[in-house]
């Protein structure tokens, strides 16, 4: 066996090693835990609904998450250097408090996540309440999206919106799920509002296809390297 053909035959080793390492790193990254949404009010954070001053309390519910949740996300920002919020999650039927949390928020507008002490069970209607503890908090949301769970409560701002006409932007989160562990949920969500032939299976198949592209990359580089060393026309002329 000539040295050239040996080199060509071994050419796949380096690309394969590089591809394997990349896939390994991606799998490790995908296995890291992070917040995943179990419920969303679908109210986009388009405008400031009200400024909450101390003792102001707003609630939204009953909302039902599709899995256990241990964090709540709301949108807004402090009016002033810092604002403190208390988050309470109650059983929508009995009013019993299921979980609590707190947030210290600065001025930049954005999503603020409160980790909860206690877990919100999936499939049970709950009401999420925000209570201003100190400072002032600008709460963001939109006109009502779901009449089923409007914003309710006491707002000390005289320009506060009419209760029942607005939703504040709200998500319930499971903070300890990995992306890889969430793929099944994500694919079943993504399968809706697609062509009739698309289902969760399509995304599993595509995920396998994306994984296969690393193997195809090895083929592409190996074939290109061997063509450079031993071009096809030259190969054909030797036959």
């Amino acid at each position: 066996m000539s040295r050239l053909s040996l080199r060509v035959r071994r050419a796949w080793l380096v690309p394969a090693l590089v591809a394997f390492l990349a896939v390994l790193l991606l799998v490790i990254a995908g296995a890291q835990a992070g917040p995943r949404r179990t419920f969303t009010s679908d109210a986009p954070n388009v405008s400031q609904l009200a400024v909450m001053h101390p003792q102001a309390r707003v609630c939204e519910g009953g909302v039902t998450s599709d899995g256990p949740s241990d964090a709540v996300g709301v949108w807004g920002g402090s009016v002033g250097p810092v604002a403190g919020l208390k988050v309470e999650v109650q059983d929508a039927r009995t009013g019993r408090t299921l979980a609590r949390g707190g947030l210290d928020v600065g001025p930049p507008l954005g999503e603020h996540v409160a980790d909860l002490h206690g877990q919100i069970p999936g499939g049970r209607p709950v009401r999420v309440c925000l209570v201003e503890v100190f400072g002032a908090y600008g709460l963001w949301g939109s006109g009502i999206v779901h009449p089923g769970f409007p914003l309710t409560g006491m707002l000390t701002d005289p320009r506060a919106p009419v209760p029942g006409a607005f939703d504040f932007s709200l998500v319930l989160l499971n903070a300890h799920r990995s992306l890889l562990g969430s793929l099944s949920t994500a694919f079943s969500r993504a399968a809706l509002f697609r062509p009739s032939w698309v289902g969760s299976w399509t995304f599993w198949l595509l995920a396998a296809g994306v994984l296969a592209t690393f193997a195809l990359a090895v083929v592409a580089v190996t074939a290109a390297a061997s063509d450079e060393e031993d071009p096809p026309l030259r190969r054909a002329s030797r036959r």
């Binding site: 969303t40 679908d42 109210a43 388009v46 999206v145 697609r194 062509p195 592209t213 290109a224 054909a236």
Partner: protein, 508 residues
């Protein structure tokens, strides 16, 4: 003295060995190289995943582009009629069902509807004997100044799933974009083959950079003319290089002009391509020996007709219909063009503002980084889905290295006095940048600062791919497979990270 013409890519067959028979050589030439076939397989798999993964209408102006294509498919009429609704009831009901308007810009708080019962309700309305009409759109929207070529291409997808829901038709149009993406990648392969010679590793890397840059994949598989624009510009770069290197041989000038005309018929940005293409034709003719120039001119003349006729036809049609054939920007009468101010704007786009310059910045940070790099590399959805923060500076470092490699090529070309290809590529990039910056400047002094987006630079992505191919070509033989592997695998890893970002933004 007889002048010689470079005969295109070098041949690698050894003259001392017996040549393959004519038939087997032809078969070998027709058969795509395995490396290209594998790369196209990768691009198609990644493209289909993007096309189906991104939620309905979650790419820039996709609602408007869908409405344009629907107006053509249903009424065979260009949109923009003042007495009609922007979007058809069919599109509006689908948009409302999935919550596309709310998701745009706010995917965190308002992701696409996940409710199976809402989807069932939509399907039941859609399958009602009297579904929402598709023909009552065609009113003015943001896309209506565009020429119609892309929308006619996308309508092939629309008609393939004509009996389906609006979602079926939208995704069928996106899947047409996968073919366009494959054509872009093939164009990159050919471009590298022409500019760098038939060297497979540089060709693979060049084509991969072009076809697998996350933003190219995302835009090509959205309902948006940008995908076709990128493909046509990449093909124009290849054909321009052919015309220059082969001295306007055979049908190259006609091909180049046809691709340029198609690009102009896709988006007005492509008027920037006309100057560089004329330069390529001129160089191609001048590179022939004096006695052959008349023959070469005879080959260029039909090309010029192929370029001019569709353009004049479109401008005339647009004028007849009372439409803008060329998009107009700014309000020059109120804010006249000022060269010093324009240069100051360009300076502040690329470099930190000097104390004595009047602020003309369009982003809080350096616009070149925020717009060209961040948005051009990967900001998805309605620019509301970003890559992980660390990826942008990493990409900036890699792109800077590629830019320096490009500069090295310029220096080498100057030393070799091989300036013709370089002039064509440089003029193409400069013309694109000049058109974009001029438009942005006119809008800025008219009071609008949000015009430029990173994706507008993507028609020039072929040159980025070429820089990457050049780096691989310049490496010693043993290092090339490793460099090729790193480039391809890094691009695929970035693709996975980008798709994960999209999945997390909308569906987890």
């Amino acid at each position: 003295m007889q002048r010689t013409i470079e005969g295109g890519p070098e041949r690698t067959a050894e003259p001392t060995r017996p040549r393959p028979s004519r038939g087997s050589a032809a078969r070998l030439r027709l058969k795509p190289p395995r490396s290209l076939a594998a790369l196209l397989g990768i691009v198609v798999l990644i493209g289909v995943t993007w096309a189906l993964l991104v939620p309905p209408w979650q790419s820039p102006d996709e609602l408007d582009h869908f409405a344009y294509a629907q107006s053509l498919a249903e009424n065979f009429a260009l949109p923009g009629k003042a007495d009609r609704a922007d979007d058809s009831s069919d599109e509006m009901s689908a948009n409302a069902a999935v919550g596309a308007n709310n998701t745009a810009f706010y995917p965190g708080s308002s992701p696409p509807d996940w409710s199976a019962s809402d989807y069932a309700a939509y399907l039941s309305a859609e399958h009602h004997p009297d579904p929402p009409p598709r023909t009552n759109g065609g009113g003015p929207n943001g896309a209506d100044p565009n020429p119609p070529l892309y929308y006619l291409v996308a309508d092939v997808g629309y008609l393939l799933d004509y009996g389906g829901t609006a979602f079926g038709r939208l995704y069928a149009m996106r899947l047409i974009g996968v073919l366009i993406l494959a054509a872009t990648t093939l164009g990159g392969w050919l471009l590298a083959g022409e500019a760098l010679g038939r060297r497979r590793l540089p060709q693979v890397v060049c084509a991969a950079v072009i076809g697998l840059l996350p933003m190219t994949t995302f835009m090509s598989t959205s309902v948006n003319p940008d995908g076709l624009l990128i493909a046509l510009w990449t093909w124009a770069l290849w054909l321009g290089a052919r015309v220059i290197k082969r001295g306007a041989a055979s049908w190259d000038p006609v091909g180049l002009c046809a691709v340029t005309a198609a690009a102009v018929m896709t988006k007005a940005t492509s008027y920037a391509l006309v100057g560089p293409v004329l330069l390529a034709l001129l160089i191609g003719v001048l590179r022939r020996p004096a006695g052959e120039r008349r023959k070469a001119l005879n080959r260029v003349a039909p090309g010029v007709v192929v370029l001019a006729v569709p353009l004049i036809g479109w401008l005339y049609t647009a004028h007849t219909l009372g439409r803008a054939g060329i998009n107009s920007v700014g309000a020059p009468a109120a804010h006249p063009f000022n060269l010093r101010q324009f240069l100051s704007y360009v300076w502040q786009f690329y470099l930190p503002r000097l104390p004595w310059l009047t602020p003309l910045k369009v982003t809080p940070g350096l616009p070149a980084y925020e717009i060209w790099l961040r948005q051009g590399f990967g900001q998805f959805g309605w620019l509301d889905v970003s890559e992980p923060g660390w990826l942008y500076p990493t990409a900036a470092a890699v792109l800077l290295a590629l830019g320096l490699a490009g500069l090295y090529a310029v220096v080498r070309a100057i030393r070799r006095r091989d300036l013709t290809l370089l002039a064509f590529f440089a003029l193409t990039l400069l013309a694109l940048l000049l058109l974009l910056h001029m438009s942005a400047y006119l809008l800025l002094i008219g009071g609008y600062s949000g015009f430029l987006q990173g994706r507008y630079l993507l028609p020039g992505v072929g040159l980025l791919g070429l820089c990457a191919g050049l780096v691989v070509a310049a490496l010693p033989g043993r290092a090339r497979p490793l460099a090729g592997s790193l480039a391809l695998v890094a691009l695929l890893a970035v693709q996975v990270i980008s798709m994960s970002s999209v999945l997390q933004a909308y569906y987890t």
